[in-house]
Every structure is written in structure tokens, then in C-alpha cells.
């Protein structure tokens, strides 16, 4: 019985913490209403108005977020796939080293990696020094004030490592003899990729996509650090601004619920696929 209490109640307690910590308190505006039957929807209306009403300054940010995330995910895939493929199949003796270097950005603070780009991109930074050839070419580009390309680049830079590892794990599981067999049966390089490697790495692609797109949806610091301009604001920025501004907590909560509702499907997908993978192994 002690056994049950120990291994059951403690996790249960934690589960309660998790469940109540994330979902329940969100509904409360500065004057919290504890009874769900008495919930008021004025905050929801405010957010709805800002989304679709005449004065819809939320909507562009929401669309922008979707666009940025989509571009960043595709770019991450394009970058991560060859790198993961190389590491899984051709790295040979250097495999351990390459893998360690791939994992390294995980352990470098996200803030520090953004700081690195701020240093490079600031008006007198290295990037400007290089493209103006040390001041010879009279170009004065200010990268860090509302440049959408820079923000997307920052997102890609920040999240690629999280795409790399699941991809690597999936590609690493493809046995080389399978690839040889496809070759012997006459598959060209493209066939091999399309009909063997791509389907087999699909779980990794899905996992990586979810793993980076979900946090990106709530990201506000990348845009804050690399642009600081409302022209590149994302959903995360809207939420952050309403949190920082007094009396707008309800709107932040509503926005957050909106994001979570949208993300619920991919989140459930991810956990389901994970559970299934466990059953299989």
C-alpha cells in the first residue's frame, strides 16, 4: 500500500500541478471568476474585435506568425536533412565529433545565440563591415529594426538544432543494407530518396516539425531582440505585450487559449505518435 501511495500519489500530485498550472488559471482576468458558469466573455469579445473587427491590429500579427513559422520550418527541414543524412551515413570516423558539434547549440543559451547575431548585425557590426568592404561601399543597412528576413533567419538559427536530432535519429535507423538493396534493384538516386529514405524518415520529419513549430508559435523574444518593431510582431509578442501592460491580463489569457486551441491538434498528434512508437519498441 505504501508502494501504491508513493508511486501513485506523487505523480498524481504532479499531474494535478501540471493540469491546473497550465489550463485552469488562464481563464481568470484581473478580477478572477471562479465559477465556470459565471464566466464573462467580454475579454473574448475584445480579442475577437481586434482580430476580425474594423480595427483589426491583431490579425496581421497572427497571419505573420503563421507565415514566419511556415517559412522557418521549411528552411529548417532543407538545412537539417542533408546535415542529418551526412552524419548518419557518411560521417564515418568523425561521427562522434560531428554529432557533438550538432548537439552543442542545444547547450548554448538561446539568448546568447541571439546576442551573437545582434553583435554581428548591429550598424557597426561585422556583417555591415564585410558587405561595405570596411566602409568603402556607402551602404548603411540597419538590420535590426523591423527587418522580417532577419527575424525569420533568427528563428531558423534558433530552432534548427531541434529539427536535426529527431531527423538524425530517424535516418540513423535506416539500415545501410536496405539502401544497397534498393540500389541493386535499380533505384536511381532520386528514386532511392523518394521511395525509401523519405518514407522511412517521415516520423523524424513529423517529430522535428512539431518540435520546432510549437515553441515558435509562442516565441516573442526572437522578434523582440532582432527587430523590436511592431512590423514583425508575432502572436507571442501580442501576448507578452498584454501581460506587461496593466489590466490586459485577460486578453493575454484569451490569446493564449486561442493559440492552444490551434495547437491542440498537433500536440495530440505528437503525443499519440510518441505513444505508438513506444508500443512498437
Amino acid at each position: 500500500m505504501v508502494w501504491i501511495a508513493l508511486f501513485f500519489l506523487i505523480p498524481l500530485y504532479v499531474v494535478f500541478c501540471v493540469a491546473f498550472g497550465t489550463v485552469d488559471p488562464i481563464f481568470r482576468s484581473p478580477v478572477p471568476i471562479w465559477n465556470p458558469l459565471e464566466w464573462q466573455f467580454t475579454q473574448v469579445e475584445v480579442v475577437w474585435d481586434r482580430l476580425f473587427g474594423p480595427d483589426n491590429f491583431y490579425l496581421p500579427a497572427v497571419l505573420r506568425t503563421l507565415l514566419y513559422v511556415a517559412i522557418a520550418v521549411v528552411a529548417c527541414l532543407i538545412i537539417a536533412f542533408p546535415v542529418a543524412y551526412f552524419t548518419a551515413r557518411y560521417a564515418g570516423n568523425y561521427r562522434g565529433l560531428v554529432l557533438a558539434l550538432l548537439v552543442a547549440p542545444f547547450f548554448i543559451s538561446y539568448m546568447m545565440r541571439m546576442l551573437a547575431w545582434i553583435n554581428l548585425l548591429q550598424p557597426d557590426g561585422l556583417v555591415n563591415t564585410i558587405i561595405t568592404l570596411g566602409g568603402v561601399v556607402p551602404l548603411d543597412i540597419n538590420w535590426l529594426s523591423g527587418n522580417p528576413y532577419v527575424v525569420v533567419m533568427g528563428l531558423i538559427y534558433g530552432y534548427v538544432p531541434y529539427m536535426l536530432l529527431p531527423l538524425f535519429a530517424a535516418l540513423d535507423r535506416i539500415s545501410p543494407s536496405l539502401i544497397e538493396a534498393a540500389r541493386d534493384l535499380g533505384a536511381s538516386g532520386f528514386d532511392l530518396f523518394r521511395r525509401v529514405i523519405l518514407p522511412m524518415s517521415l516520423p523524424g520529419i513529423v517529430a522535428g516539425t512539431l518540435l520546432i513549430s510549437l515553441p515558435m508559435m509562442g516565441d516573442y523574444f526572437t522578434s523582440d531582440l532582432l527587430s523590436k518593431s511592431p512590423n514583425t510582431a508575432m502572436i507571442g509578442n501580442l501576448i507578452n505585450l498584454s501581460i506587461v501592460a496593466p489590466g490586459q491580463a485577460g486578453q493575454a489569457g484569451t490569446l493564449l487559449i486561442l493559440v492552444l486551441l490551434v495547437l491542440l491538434i498537433p500536440m495530440v498528434l505528437y503525443t499519440r505518435s510518441n505513444a505508438r512508437a513506444e508500443v512498437r519498441s
Partner: protein, 307 residues
């Protein structure tokens, strides 16, 4: 027949060889091409950070013009250096403190959670497992704001600050030990425990003396991951921070990176980098020693796949 068969075979053999050589040729070219992409990627990923570290040793105030090597921003600048700026010093020590606290609390709970999930069947543990995985993928901002509201509107006596931050971090990080230890428990299976029970071990004794030692590598790995991740955490720590005394290095970077900072900021970031690198290397060595002693394979890629 025999006369003509031999050349035919020879021809066949030769054409096979040619094909194989040609394939090896394209395959090599592909390997080099992919290798080049990988190299470029690694440069892109790591050089900006290396430059940041480099400029923490700059003699002057600039973070983009090299003015000679010095430790000015670490030690001897009278007001701006890491050593002499109290707020930077506080941020550094507070970040490490938070990481230690969060790791100490997260790992045991996570291991117990994993053990419970491993032996209980039914709806409730399934739901628990689901929740644990959800915390893994939920945007951090959701958890942070949920906790912020809870602390400010519901659990007002607790207030914001260290404990709120630790609770938030623990909740967010719990999934690491759970996922990693569960994967390990699945490979261990139940035979060892059953054998121990047959030999007269109590239920608790079997777990303590058989399962926990076998689980140790997984526990170590998850502790390292949690520690390194908490060092870098920003969203939870920021929303649940109360005042300047609970400011971490990542918050400091966020607040001052765009406001004409000195290389002391780079120096601070470098120190945190060194701390997490040290923890990882030490943890890795311990992991290697432990698994060698147990005669198990130590493969980086097997570790990576558990992630």
C-alpha cells in the same frame, strides 16, 4: 561451351566491377557534397557564438571592433566588469542556484513518475503519460503565464520569486527524466526485478538495489539535460521573477542586448556557457565510466536517439 563461357563471365564480372566503381564514384561525390553542406552548417551555427566569446575579451567597449586582448570585462574594469558589477554577479550566481534547485527537485520526481508509469496499466497512468508529453511540447509561454496567473490571483501568499520560478521550471522540465527513464525501463524489462524478488528481495529492495543502479545512466543524462536547460531558460524565469534579485543571465541579455551594452554582457554569457559545458563534460565522463564498468555499449548515437 566452356570456351565461350569464361570470357562471358569475365565480361560480366568486369561490367559489374565498372558499375560498382561508378557507383562508388557518385557515392563519394555525394558524401563530399553532403559533408560540405554539413561543414557550412556547422560554421554558420557556431562561428557567431565563437565571435561573441572572442569579443568578451576585447580591450575596448566595442563588441564589433577588435581592440586587443584583455580581461578587462571579466576582472579589472572598475564598474563594468563581471567581477565588479554587482548585478551581473548576482545574475550569474542566481542562475546557477536556480539550475541546482530545479535539478535536485525535478530528477527524483521524474524518476518516480517514470517508475509508476512503467508498472501501472490503465487509464489514469495513460492520462498522466499524456500530460507529461504535453508539457514537453506545449509552448513555454503558456505554462509560464498559467503559473503567473495562479500565483498572482490564486496562491497570493506564495508570491512571485524564487519558489514560483523553481515550481515552473520543475513542471516544465519533468518530461526529460520521465521520457528518458521510461525508455530505459522498457529496455531493462521486468526479468531482473522478478529474479530479485524470487531471491527474497523486498519490493522496495528490488527497486533500490537492482533497478535504480541499472537506471543510473538514464538518471544522469536527464539530470545533465535539465541542468543545462534551466541555465538557459528565459520565458518561465522571466514571468515568475519578482524583482532584480531574481534576475537571471538570460533575462539580463534580453533586457540589455539592444541598449548599448559593454562586452561584459558577452563575458557573462561566456561564463554561463563554460559552466554548462563543464557540467556536460563531467556528466559525460561519469556516464562513460559508469557504463564501461557495467560493460555496456556507450554510443553517442544511442544517446541521441533517446532524445
Amino acid at each position: 561451351m566452356t570456351v565461350s563461357a569464361a570470357p562471358a563471365e569475365a565480361i560480366l564480372e568486369e561490367s559489374r566491377g565498372r558499375r560498382r566503381r561508378r557507383m562508388r564514384g557518385t557515392s563519394e561525390a555525394r558524401a563530399y557534397g553532403l559533408g560540405a553542406i554539413t561543414a557550412v552548417y556547422l560554421l554558420w551555427a557556431l562561428v557567431p557564438v565563437a565571435i561573441t566569446v572572442l569579443f568578451s575579451f576585447n580591450e575596448g567597449r566595442s563588441r564589433s571592433t577588435w581592440q586587443g586582448f584583455s580581461l578587462r570585462w571579466y576582472t579589472w574594469d572598475p564598474t563594468g566588469s563581471v567581477l565588479n558589477d554587482e548585478s551581473i554577479r548576482n545574475a550569474l550566481s542566481y542562475t546557477v542556484l536556480l539550475a541546482v534547485l530545479a535539478t535536485i527537485i525535478t530528477v527524483p520526481i521524474g524518476v518516480l513518475f517514470a517508475l509508476a508509469l512503467d508498472r501501472w496499466r490503465g487509464r489514469l497512468p495513460q492520462g498522466a503519460n499524456f500530460l507529461a508529453l504535453i508539457t514537453f511540447v506545449i509552448p513555454e509561454i503558456a505554462l509560464a503565464i498559467g503559473l503567473l496567473f495562479m500565483v498572482t490571483y490564486l496562491a497570493t501568499p506564495f508570491g512571485l520569486g524564487t519558489w514560483a520560478q523553481v515550481v515552473g521550471l520543475v513542471t516544465f522540465q519533468l518530461s526529460y527524466p520521465i521520457v528518458i527513464c521510461r525508455a530505459r525501463l522498457l529496455t531493462i524489462g521486468s526479468h531482473y526485478e522478478e529474479a530479485a524478488r524470487d531471491l527474497g528481495a523486498s519490493a522496495l529492495g528490488a527497486v533500490r538495489r537492482i533497478i535504480l543502479p541499472m537506471l543510473f545512466p538514464a538518471i544522469l543524462v536527464s539530470a545533465i539535460l535539465v541542468f543545462a536547460d534551466v541555465l538557459d531558460d528565459f520565458v518561465i524565469v522571466r514571468y515568475l521573477s519578482s524583482d532584480a534579485s531574481t534576475e537571471t543571465t538570460s533575462m539580463r541579455i534580453y533586457q540589455t542586448a539592444r541598449a548599448a551594452p559593454t562586452p561584459a554582457l558577452n563575458a557573462m554569457a561566456t561564463i554561463i556557457l563554460v559552466v554548462s559545458a563543464l557540467v556536460i563534460v563531467l556528466g559525460w565522463l561519469a556516464y562513460r565510466r559508469w557504463t564501461r564498468k557495467q560493460g555496456e555499449s556507450t554510443d553517442v548515437s544511442s544517446l541521441a536517439s533517446t532524445l
